[in-house]
Amino acid sequence: MMQKTGVIYQGFRSEKELAEIPGVPSDERIKKGSVAFIECAQEIPCNPCEEACPYGAISVGKPITNLPKLDEDKCIGCGSCIAACPGLAIFLVNASKSKGEVSFPFEYYPLPKKGDEVDCVDREGNIVVKGKVLRIIKPPKYDATAVITVVIPIEYIKIVRSIKRLGRS
């Protein structure tokens, strides 16, 4: 049987779905520098991302089931929206340098350390490439959600969405 693709069958968004949702920035914008990549593809009653953005780059409006729309020119890639999203569906991508960067929310124990080499995974949890941890931020206002940034080969910025959970000692 052919596996049907799409979020309701596989639990993650297919490339086709991603191409159609209003939270995904253009390739040109990604090349210019860090920008939010919002993988929210279903009309659920939710809008904290809209409030979290200090630059007004995300709009949901009314009804709150609208998909979040990204204004890629207003977004400065600050990452404030990542930890605000209860769906953990917002990432940050950056293709302005020779290496790519992806930031993602991470809520497991333990956390990696800055500089660690880590196994980077795609939306299905497959290890696809090694990456290096550039940054981990976890201020109190994120309420226990860490935001990790990894450096990876540039062709992986639309593929890598997390790291493999580290073992507990």
Binding site: V7, I8, Y9, Q10, G11, F12, R13, E39, C40, A41, Q42, E43, I44, P45, C46, N47, P48, E51, A52, P63, I64, T65, A84, C85, P86, G87, L88, A89, E107, Y108, Y109, V121, D122, R123, E124, G125, N126, D143, A144, T145, R161, S162, K164, R165, R168
Partner: protein, 364 residues
């Protein structure tokens, strides 16, 4: 005999929100809960909630629970714990047991906010130790901080199944697979995305054929289902697992409402037989209100709104709010409830709730 203005039965998100809202008006409120600690299911919900700011979106459930408890203290709400209510009699006399002894309390208004219980599922091996409700596992990891097992199979892809899978991994367990009998994932894609990213496979059109083990769960055999929900031959898969969690729906806990004499209607999307209520959450019995999962299973955010609604309505009918004040508050709450019941996931519940109100109108 003990008396109170408003007696709220159940100290979950619905009951506590109701108590806080009613107490704000100046009413005397007493909450009764059978547990030793208040909060209902709220303290096991450690994820950030959806909704908008007014629904406290982005805040973790257990923190909302703490805020609600602080508010009950500030407002002098009396919370009676270890108080299992077993009867509601004429003139709103409530009978409950504390520490093995009988007690009664008489109230001018009663709010039933008793929540829901988890459904079971029958299959060979379903009674083996290690097969449990997903909510039971959630209680163990997030409230009691013990793992029920290390290798989990989750059954059911609604939000509870997805959330609890994620939380089991946060507590240090591995989720071997999530299986779902329907051809599609039932819960939010963003919840599914979290566990897929963590490497958990989701098998749709799949069911448990058998749980293996003598004294406890040792493995699980699954099988694929065709369009008619029949096992397809030679599709068995075997998984090593020590725990099977069932997230196959919740049923409203309605015994007290039956006993009190509330009229019911049958609405499957809300979890089966549910008490009929009006826009104020008043049941078919004057002075008996209902709120939260007992009125039809939704989630904590809508339970809290329904609780507030019942709280305002009780306060109004006791004269603590005038009609205008109450209407202003109720309008805000109705708007927030409607907002939670829109979109492809909410619409079904919106229509179901309309039916429930319609049943009330037909009676009137």
């Amino acid at each position: 005999m003990k008396t109170t203005d408003i007696a709220v039965i159940g100290a979950g998100p619905a009951g506590l929100s109701c108590a806080v809202e009613a107490a704000k008006s100046g009413a005397r409120v007493t909450v009764l809960d059978e547990n030793l600690k208040p909060g209902g299911q709220l303290f096991k919900q450690i994820h950030k909630f959806f909704g908008s700011r007014e629904h406290r979106a982005g805040i973790r459930g257990f923190r909302i629970g703490q805020q609600l408890l602080e508010a009950t203290e500030r407002l002098d709400v009396q919370v009676l714990l270890d108080a299992a209510v077993y009867g509601i009699y004429e003139d709103r006399l409530i009978a409950y047991i504390t520490d093995g002894r009988d007690h009664t309390i008489k109230a001018k208004k009663i709010v039933l906010a008793t929540g829901a219980s988890e459904n079971a599922l029958a299959f060979p091996g379903c009674t083996l130790p290690g097969v449990m409700g997903a909510g039971a596992a959630q209680t163990m990891i997030n409230v009691n901080r013990v793992l029920p097992g290390k290798k989990i199979i989750m059954v059911g892809s609604g939000n509870v199944g997805l959330i609890v899978s994620y939380q089991l991994m946060q507590a240090g367990a591995d989720v071997v697979a999530l299986i779902e009998a329907a051809p599609k994932i039932g819960g939010y894609g963003v919840h599914a995305g979290k566990i897929r990213r963590a490497g958990v496979p989701i098998y749709t059109s799949t069911t448990i054929k058998e749980v293996l083990g003598e004294e406890k769960v040792e493995g699980v055999i699954t099988a694929s289902l065709d369009e008619k929900w029949q096992h397809i031959e030679d599709t068995e898969k075997r998984f090593e697992a020590d725990t099977v969690c069932l997230a196959v729906g919740l049923s409203p806990l309605t015994e007290l409402a039956w006993m009190a004499g509330c009229e019911f209607t049958f609405i499957p999307p809300l979890g089966g037989h549910v008490p009929i209520h009006d826009r104020n959450m008043e049941s078919t019995l004057t002075g008996v209100y209902i709120a939260g999962d007992i009125t039809g299973v939704e989630e904590a955010s809508s339970a809290m709104e329904e609780g507030r609604l019942a709280g305002v309505a009780c306060a109004e009918s006791l004269g603590y709010y005038n009609e205008k004040q109450a209407l202003a508050l109720k309008n805000e709450i109705w708007d927030r409830l409607d907002a939670l019941r829109t979109g492809p996931f909410g619409e079904g519940r919106f229509t179901a709730k309309l039916k429930q109100l319609e049943a009330r109108r037909q009676l009137a």
